[in-house]
Symmetry: C2
Subunit: 257 residues, 2 copies
DNA sequence: CGACATCTTGACTGCGTTCAAACATGGTGG
DNA sequence: CCACCATGTTTGAACGCAGTCAAGATGTCG
């Protein structure tokens, strides 16, 4: 079960993320009702958002957001990282479950209290709205990535999305002289699921990109992006093969001489 | 260019859709600022939502919502039908363009006036929020459909999604004794784009489903669904998931008939 | 050190992309 | 009214990517 600690020691963090632009007294009220919960990797945070009795804000770690299907299987529709809200509860009839992909901490507000505060504080309502709008935007990013026919293209898009989305989260993204190092927060199986393919294909495409020198696989879940531009190219243009063969040709020519 | 007519003759329609639960005086205010715009198929309604000076609500027809990519190409991320809002403008830094897929009418509110009204009327703000939440939900339905690796499965999911989303829109969906007839509001190319594949594959899979007796292709864009259950089976039998809500909808459709 | 989970690699098959051409449909002008 | 072209859809054939099953490699933990 989740470990609970008391109240808003971490309010500074809360203030820096989803609730950055709310007035002091509202923030104090949030502080008063706030509770920190800790989860280990793989735990279920909430089964359906409707029934969950709290609204949360991720402080650290990564959560999987998955939709429960009729036959009981679950499908990942997004990830939550620090600063993201969960349990907004305006998601209509959706049947979601949230699980921790890594060890995670989140800051929980009792649902009823929170909603009461929302009706009182317009800027909090606005914050909630902005949060949902942000999620919508991200969902559409996923759409674009998923509609790429080639797996390598989807992976390239995924990596780029990680770069843009998690630019400020240093334990996921790290700038290195050689490039940008990305820590992939979910397993290959989950990633494959997310990208609409199988782990084997993920592996192959990843190593294919590696062979082209675009990325470097330091560990299975730690990837160094050497050439962002080439990666963007791989994500947009499916004609990467043409380029790849060109580069091979050039290399071979140079080697032969 | 768009043809504009004056003020809210159609307010009843507006009231029946996105703004169903707002108080009378707010509705009157909306009425006062409302203007009806008409578009023909293929016109650009708004290039980016940010710059568009109005917020709209679709009265009739279908709009394509597409995201502009770095290289200038555009990618469809959703459809808008009657009752949907556009230009919510909380979509962050998104770069969207909206085009009419069919002849369409929409009811436009000047952005500044609308936003001023939003700050005054909590229930209007709530309506906006619900609208975004609804769109988020739909975007996730697309995600699930797209993550099906087999094309036939995606098409099946798409058809079922049409049935659930447009249940009440008679010029798209029509109940027939033999089944449900769906009018596909976008071209094969756009559909292929939306489902992450090519028009040829769309055609093949569609005819494959037709050969199985699941559907009947009356015209390229008019499809009769004979066997909803088989269609749902085709959507999730292909290993990856079916949309949970679709199951509910099937129930509802059966009940309604 | 061995048992387990995760990731990778290999070989094979099939689906879907690709390129190309035939087929409908609608609008235009002779 | 029909020939004609433009657009969109369908069909055909060939190739290649990715899914599948199976085995090997790597890492993790008791």
């Amino acid at each position: 079960m989740a470990i609970e600690t008391h109240k808003g020691i971490r309010l500074g963090l809360v203030g820096s993320t989803a609730f950055s632009q709310i007035c002091p007294e509202t923030r104090d009220a949030l502080d008063a009702m706030c509770r920190v919960k800790s989860y280990r990797a793989g735990q279920t945070v909430a089964h359906t958002q409707e029934k969950s009795e709290f609204i949360g804000c991720v402080l650290s770690g990564v959560l999987r957001m998955q939709k429960t299907l009729a036959d009981g299987r679950e499908h990942i529709v997004g990830l939550l990282v620090e600063g993201d809200m969960l349990g907004g509860g305006f998601d209509g009839p959706a049947d979601f479950s949230i699980e921790s992909a890594t060890d995670a901490e989140l800051c929980a507000f009792p649902r009823t209290e929170f909603e009461a505060l929302v009706t009182l504080s317009p800027d909090l309502e606005r914050a909630v709205l902005l949060n949902i709008a942000n999620e919508l935007d991200r969902a559409r990013d996923w759409l674009i990535i998923l509609s790429n026919q080639r797996i390598a293209g989807r992976i390239a898009g995924f990596l780029l999305l990680m770069c843009s989305r998690f630019r400020d989260i240093d334990h996921i993204l790290q700038r290195r002289p050689e490039g940008i190092e990305v820590k992939i927060p979910i397993s290959r199986i989950d990633l494959a699921h997310l990208l609409g393919t199988r782990p084997e294909s993920i592996s192959r495409s990843l190593h294919s990109l590696s062979d082209q020198g675009v990325i470097d696989i330091r560990e299975p879940d730690r990837i160094l992006i050497r050439d962002t531009k080439a990666l963007a190219y791989a994500a947009d243009e499916d004609e990467i093969e043409a380029v790849a063969t060109l580069q091979d040709l050039l290399k071979n020519i140079r080697l032969e001489r």
